[in-house]
């Protein structure tokens, strides 16, 4: 059995000894590994100690507390990012600073584990990490053999595009060979499903076009003062047929003062359309959607809340990645490309803004977008 070296960096001695105890006889087996993996746990009580340890003998995994007495966890993370990119960092964090932890995953931490954690939580986290370490090493090996493994955008994209094509092709073949009967009416469901799949594919293509649009050159952008209320109204209009079907109550809380932003109207449409249509799509029948706009000197704030199926914390954390669709019983019959929110995020990043999501399963979600006014955005980019 091979051991993975784990360094726990936490000023609470209880955490270190807890981790040691939990991982002592714990091993991970993964379908593709020839051997099980165990864990050898080391401890550092400060960030400084941790850096010394890492310099001398880089471990495979670092469990890192955010709050440390001397230098902070983020500095240790920075060091690892710069010097030991192979080390997998898990942030240990109290629930109160969960937001920080999510941010840390953007800065290169692999994941986070909230404190206090149960033995089971730690074990399943370590299982994931082990799997990841193994897959990474395998990818490296395959690359060395001259094989290109890109489990990335293109492959997922081709998967997403080919699935509906296969489905429609299959249905057409059924009709061509008259598999289900001689009458056209025998194929009602077959035609219905084909149309559904084509619709899904169209959505995906439209989203892809959006994606290329926002990735296009700055010089192609057409900036103007955009009235966000207009954009909101047209977004509501475009989802209205669907909202009526679901008997949703969409309320647009129009601000007293017009809220405008110097921006490309296409970009604003992308943001608004995606947020509003998600609020409709993932809502329960008879639910509500609330859209608030707020303008300040610093920028514009858009808030879209729904009373829909919501998400748990783990789902929320993955939400803005490409092709992430939250798959569960509740979302089974909802179609989507899995690109919408990653596109929204890219647009918002382009404007130097930010997007926050608060969500509770079965209660609903609230997305809050802040977009700074252009001057501020300029000032910020030139000063940094």
């Amino acid at each position: 059995m091979k051991n993975l070296n784990v360094l726990v960096v936490d000023d609470e001695p209880g955490i270190c000894s807890g981790v040691k105890r939990i991982l002592k006889n714990f091993t991970v087996s993964y379908p593709f590994m020839d051997e099980d993996r165990g864990f050898q746990v080391y401890e550092s009580f400060t960030g400084e100690e941790a850096l010394d340890f890492i310099k001398q003998s880089p471990p495979d995994i670092v469990l890192l507390d955010n709050k440390l007495p001397g230098i902070q966890g983020t500095e240790v993370l920075d060091y690892i990012n710069k010097n030991n990119r192979d080390i997998i960092v898990m942030i240990i964090t109290s629930y109160a600073s969960l937001e920080l932890a999510v941010k840390a995953t953007d800065q290169g931490a692999y994941d986070f584990i909230p404190k206090p954690f149960t033995p089971q939580e730690l074990k399943s986290a370590m299982e994931n990490v082990t799997k990841n370490i193994f897959l990474r090493s395998m990818t490296k090996r395959l690359n060395k053999e001259g094989k290109e493994v890109r489990f990335q955008f293109l492959s997922v994209l081709s998967h997403e595009l080919k699935s509906p094509l296969n489905a429609v092709e299959g249905y057409l073949r059924m009709m061509q060979e008259r598999q289900a009967g001689e009458q056209l009416s025998d194929y009602q469901q077959v035609v219905e499903r084909s149309l559904q799949r084509i619709k899904g594919m169209r959505t995906l293509i439209m989203d892809l076009l959006d994606l290329t649009k926002i990735q296009s050159d700055e010089k192609d952008k057409q900036y103007e003062q955009v009235n966000l209320a207009d954009i909101a109204r047209s977004a509501i209009e475009s989802v209205n047929p669907y909202a009526i079907q679901k008997e949703l109550d969409i309320r647009f809380h129009e601000p007293d003062q017009p809220v405008s932003l110097y921006s490309d109207p296409n970009d604003m449409e992308i943001v608004m359309n995606n947020l509003v249509s998600n609020a409709v799509k993932y809502n329960y029948e008879g639910g509500r959607v609330d859209i608030h706009l707020e303008g300040t000197r610093e920028g514009a704030r858009i808030r879209v809340s729904d009373t829909g199926i919501g998400m748990n914390q783990e789902e929320t954390a993955r939400l803005f990645k490409e092709f992430v669709r939250i798959k569960n019983e509740k979302t089974k019959n909802i179609t989507g490309s899995g690109l919408g929110l990653s596109i929204v995020k890219q647009v918002i990043d382009l404007y130097g803004g930010d997007i926050q999501v608060k969500s509770e399963p079965e209660k609903g979600s609230t997305f809050t977008v802040f977009l700074p006014t252009k001057e501020e955005y300029n000032a910020e980019t030139t000063s940094s």
Partner: protein, 123 residues
């Protein structure tokens, strides 16, 4: 046993397999498939690759092999080789960690699928 998160694929494949004289049990996810496997030993299993996770099909294959070493397994996927994802059962190394007997693209004709199934069942 047929497992796929694409309900249309499931519907069509079930239709053809039943027409070809097979009895079909279906599952729409890795989780559901694992539940089915607890109580049912299929004569042959067909798994989609990407379901809840990118490697659901691999994991199902592994678990099936461990529980029922003799059950032939087909992985059918829309993940395409032309984009650089190169899984196959051609190299010894891949055979070692992909616990399936056959790795197929979903686009193959249904008759071909029936042929491959019969081959694995030694009919």
């Amino acid at each position: 046993m047929l497992t796929d998160d694409d309900v249309d694929y499931l519907f069509q494949m079930r239709f053809y397999l039943e027409q070809s004289g097979f009895r079909v049990v279906t599952a729409e996810s890795q989780k559901q498939a694992e539940e089915v496997l607890q109580s049912t030993r299929p004569d042959l299993a067909i798994y989609d690759l990407m379901m809840e996770t990118e490697d659901s099909g691999f994991i199902l294959s592994y678990k099936t092999r461990r529980q029922y070493p003799d059950v032939p397994i087909i992985i059918a996927t829309a993940v395409a080789s032309e984009t650089g994802v190169s899984f196959s059962l051609n190299s010894e190394q891949e055979q070692k960690w992909i616990k399936a007997d056959l790795y197929l693209e979903k686009g193959i004709r249904k008759e071909q699928m029936v042929k491959e199934i019969n081959k694995l069942l030694n009919r």
